[in-house]
């Protein structure tokens, strides 16, 4: 007859205390409108948005690349809540439509049964505010999680004042909490040009737009507006370094990519805004086990779409930028062009992973981290080339060996550029480098926030260090002796070592 394993996960998860027919993650235009429409359709709807993001996370460049250029205003929770509400008229409509709206609430995971997992009583999304976490059941999950910033490294990028375009948009419009006054924009596509125009509109000085290619990339109309505002567009140039002081960036040094003999240009600025690309925020989809596909024209690793909004999971849908950003036909080539030029103009000692302080040389040399001391003779012979003779390049493997992308920012600042560097250094198409997996929690949350404060007895009663198999831990020489029973009685299935 069938036995019961008291230590297995079967029956351990309680049904969630909160449940909605529709849960929408992200209250941007796409998500908020979806929530309103679902509520008007008679559905019981929850709309969560992580804004206002806690100041501590902003300091970690989570979820966007704020680059240390948020003002102290972000520490005023009440003011930020008013800002977020005031900046998004759809939120009031959502309240009126009967949507349950939770601001300052992030979705750190989402879980459905599938291959290798059958233990969930129902599909759940993991939510958290600053004090606690909880699980919320759903029938339909709509992800409108937007996009985050593509960050690329150059000497001096690891100081306050180097940031991303989406973060600048957020600080200027959603929070009104941007600390910079004079910016240089890297990139000249539609994203970069609209970012420059927004900054000008907000009274920020735009010292220059820098383009690695030989002509501005964005629509002619935007180029004309930027030029009319007197902003120079330096084409065939790339940042070689940022100089700065205690408060971060003070100048950016630009070098020509077409004329090595020409003198570097140094421009005074307090902020260097990277507006080269956006990355669809697919973290929750990967945690869910939804199928992702590489599409350079849509911003890299994006959901495999079923129709316009469906995913490979029947009850999970995507809307807005997380479904793919319109990069255009050039696709990933544009980011590769930038990365190639930055590497050529830069220095192998440049930090690539800021959290773990991994240099470009250590990454491409597949060296162990500095805290393990000098590399051995054998390690000195190892590099990316040697590793690639063993098999196709895998970013997850290189992450574990070098620690690049293993830090507290959860690789938001280095995930894509490491892939670009691996692609360029091994002549591997970017599309052939497997996605480095996203893992829950997709926001870095404290142990005491994530902790299940209302854990059920079924979980604690059946908790064992390992598998709870008493015979596993009997000392070998005692197997088959009368000491066996005594050990089983004392140890249960536990070893505790």
């Amino acid at each position: 007859m069938a036995g019961v394993d008291a230590c297995s996960i079967a029956g351990k998860f309680q049904t969630p205390k909160q449940r909605f027919e529709v849960v929408v993650v992200g209250a941007g235009p796409a998500g908020a409108q979806a929530a309103i429409d679902a509520a008007r359709d008679g559905k019981h709807v929850l709309l969560v948005d992580e804004n206002p993001v806690a100041a501590g996370l902003i300091g970690l460049d989570v979820p966007l690349y704020y680059g240390g250029r948020a003002t102290a205003a972000v520490q005023n929770r009440g003011r930020m809540l008013e800002q977020v509400f005031g900046a998004n008229p759809l939120l009031e409509q959502a309240f009126e439509a009967g949507v349950e709206v939770l601001l300052g609430t992030c979705a750190w995971g989402a879980f459905v049964n599938g291959p290798g997992l059958n233990a969930l009583p129902e599909p759940v999304v993991g939510l958290a505010d600053e004090e606690k976490s909880w699980l919320c059941g759903f029938e339909r999950l709509i992800l409108a999680t937007g996009a985050r910033d593509l960050a690329l490294s150059f000497a001096g990028w690891d100081q306050p004042g180097v940031m991303g375009a989406n973060a600048l948009h957020a600080l200027l419009t959603r929070y009104e909490a941007f600390a910079g006054r004079r910016i240089v924009v890297l990139g000249s596509g539609a994203l970069a040009l609209s970012t420059a125009l927004l900054a000008l509109d907000q009274g920020i000085e735009v010292a220059a737009i820098v383009e690695v290619r030989d002509h501005a990339q964005g629509p002619a109309e935007l180029v004309a507006r930027v030029e009319a505002a007197g902003v120079p567009i330096l084409t065939s140039h790339v940042a070689s370094k940022a100089r700065g002081g205690a408060d971060g960036v003070e100048t950016v040094v630009l070098v020509s990519t077409s004329d090595p003999a020409s003198a570097p240009v140094e421009i005074a600025c307090d902020t260097i805004c990277q507006a080269i690309g956006l990355i669809p925020a697919v973290e929750l989809l990967d945690v869910l086990g939804a199928k992702l596909t590489f599409d350079g024209a849509r911003g890299g690793h994006v959901p495999a779409l079923l129709g316009e909004t469906g995913t490979s999971l029947p009850n999970v849908f995507v809307l807005g930028d997380c479904a793919g950003v319109a990069v255009g036909a050039a696709g990933a080539d544009y980011a590769l062009d930038w990365m190639r030029a930055l590497m050529a103009a830069g220095d192998p000692s440049t930090i690539v992973c800021q959290c773990e302080e991994v240099t470009q040389a250590a990454l491409l040399g597949v060296k162990h981290p500095a805290y393990l001391g000098p590399v051995s003779e054998g390690m000195a012979r190892r590099d990316l080339g040697a590793l690639s003779t063993d098999g196709p390049i895998n970013q997850d493997q290189i992450k574990r060996l070098t620690r690049a992308c293993m830090g507290t920012c959860q690789a938001r600042r280095c995930r894509e550029q490491v892939a670009l560097m691996l692609s360029l250094s091994t002549q591997t198409p970017l599309s052939a480098i497997p996605l480095m997996g996203y893992r829950a929690p997709v926001r870095p949350l404290p142990l005491n926030v994530l902790a299940d404060a209302e854990e059920g007895l079924e979980m604690s009663a059946g908790w064992d260090v390992w598998f709870g198999i008493p015979s596993q831990w009997i000392p070998y020489q005692d197997i088959g002796t009368d000491r066996e029973a005594r050990h089983v009685a004392a140890l249960g299935g536990n070893m505790h070592l």
Binding site: S376, E455, W466, L497
Partner: protein, 400 residues
């Protein structure tokens, strides 16, 4: 050996046990080839707690003898650190740990009992809820992925070969001996074969008439951002196993496992679950001064268990040139010693340093076919209303 691609010894499985065995064989001058369906150490070998203190095993003394030497022997860092402290929060936990300590002492190893004050002195992140503990002066912990790669590189440095992304499709037997292994990347001839393929080992051996009963399961861990380094990073207790890494991160696992099925290609996915909240709770209880630390990752790994949870390390009677091994979910820490044992079995026919008789497959003779069902070790049936059974619903009726 047959086939030009082969080697004197072919090892199926580039996990920590197979790689250690291959490295030991290469140290003896044997031509050796490791086949893996994916990347070395990609399953449980590279994603476990890293503990190296297994008093219950016949390989225990060899494990303890070898670990302090491994960085030097391999030529690459494993991040090995000696000693452990086990912190008790309840009288039951303390009694349990003290019982374990008494067994260690019987083996002749030093373990000190700690009172609450001594625990807090030795473990700066512990709190007032600690009532005592034990300090183990042997054992320790290492970095799993770094150690697996160290074995792989050390093996290559000795002239051994590793072929990754080569899934084994069959073992060729002629005249009562294994002669070659067929893979998705061709056939490899051999004089001797080592099967160390984790959960897949049973399926690979079945066509040879060898019944190796294994049940695969998924287990989970979490990791925090770095904390200031404690003098002894091997700290656990409170229902957890784990360690502080040399970088400072707290990496912990424990709690319920999920029985699953895998096929010859291995796990289809390794999802982690909301269990990370229950793990977070226990880490915050164990180390209250770290409760503010942010969790930055979780992950799951798939391990296999035999019916009694004990390893099988055995050279078969037939085919007599085949040595099989499963460490039944406890393989990482014992790997320096298990590799040595396998080397001895392959080359000499017997282990030179330990008796392995009680780990023979013959203990499972007469095991009923439905042994997994008897133990409740079968995968759960998909719950009603769960994702994959949901009837497709209409998409949201909105434009972007």
């Amino acid at each position: 050996m047959s086939g030009t691609n082969g080697a004197s010894v072919v090892v199926i499985g580039g996990g920590v046990t197979g790689l250690s065995a291959a490295w030991w064989l290469a140290r003896s001058g044997v031509s050796v080839l490791v086949l893996d369906k994916g990347i070395v150490g990609w399953e449980a070998s590279g994603r476990n707690g890293g503990g190296a203190s297994h008093y219950h095993s016949p390989l225990f003394h060899e494990e303890q003898r070898l670990w302090p030497q491994m960085d030097g022997l391999l030529g690459y860092s494993t991040e090995y650190r000696r000693e452990r402290i086990i912190v008790a929060l309840t009288p039951e936990q303390l009694a349990h740990y003290q019982y374990v300590a008494s067994m260690h002492r019987e083996f002749g190893y030093r373990v000190d009992d700690l009172d609450a004050r001594q625990v807090r002195e030795a473990v700066p992140l512990a709190g007032d809820n600690a009532i005592g503990g034990i300090h183990v002066f042997f054992g320790g912990h290492a970095n799993p992925q770094r150690t697996v790669q160290a074995y792989a590189w050390a093996l290559q440095d000795l002239g051994g070969r590793i072929v990754q992304h080569a899934a084994v499709t069959g073992i060729k037997v002629e005249g009562g001996r294994a002669t070659a292994v067929s893979t998705t990347r061709g056939e490899f001839g051999l004089d001797s074969l080592v099967v160390a393929a984790g959960p897949q080992s049973g399926m690979l051996l079945a066509p040879l008439g060898v019944d190796l009963p294994l049940a695969p399961a998924r287990a989970e861990m979490i990791v925090t951002e770095p904390a200031p380094l404690m003098a002894i990073g091997g700290v656990d207790g409170n229902g957890l196993y784990g360690r502080q890494t040399l970088r400072g991160n707290l990496a912990y696992g424990g709690g319920p496992h999920e029985w699953i099925d895998v096929d010859e290609t291995g796990p289809k996915a390794r999802p982690s679950t909301p269990l990370l909240r229950n793990l977070s709770r226990r880490v915050a209880e164990l180390l209250p001064k770290a409760a503010h630390l942010r969790v930055i990752r979780s992950w799951a790994g798939v391990v296999e268990n035999t019916p009694d949870g004990r390893p099988v390390i055995e050279r078969l009677a037939s085919p007599e040139n085949v040595t099989i091994t499963t460490m039944s979910g406890v393989g990482f820490g014992l790997s320096p010693a298990s590799g040595h044992a396998i080397r001895d079995l392959v080359l000499d026919g017997a282990c030179s340093f330990a008796d392995l008789e009680k780990l023979s497959l013959k203990r499972f003779a007469g095991l009923p076919a439905d042994w997994r069902r008897e133990r409740g070790w079968e995968p759960a049936v998909m719950q009603a209303g769960a994702a994959e059974t949901t009837v497709p619903v209409a998409g949201p009726n909105v434009a972007e």
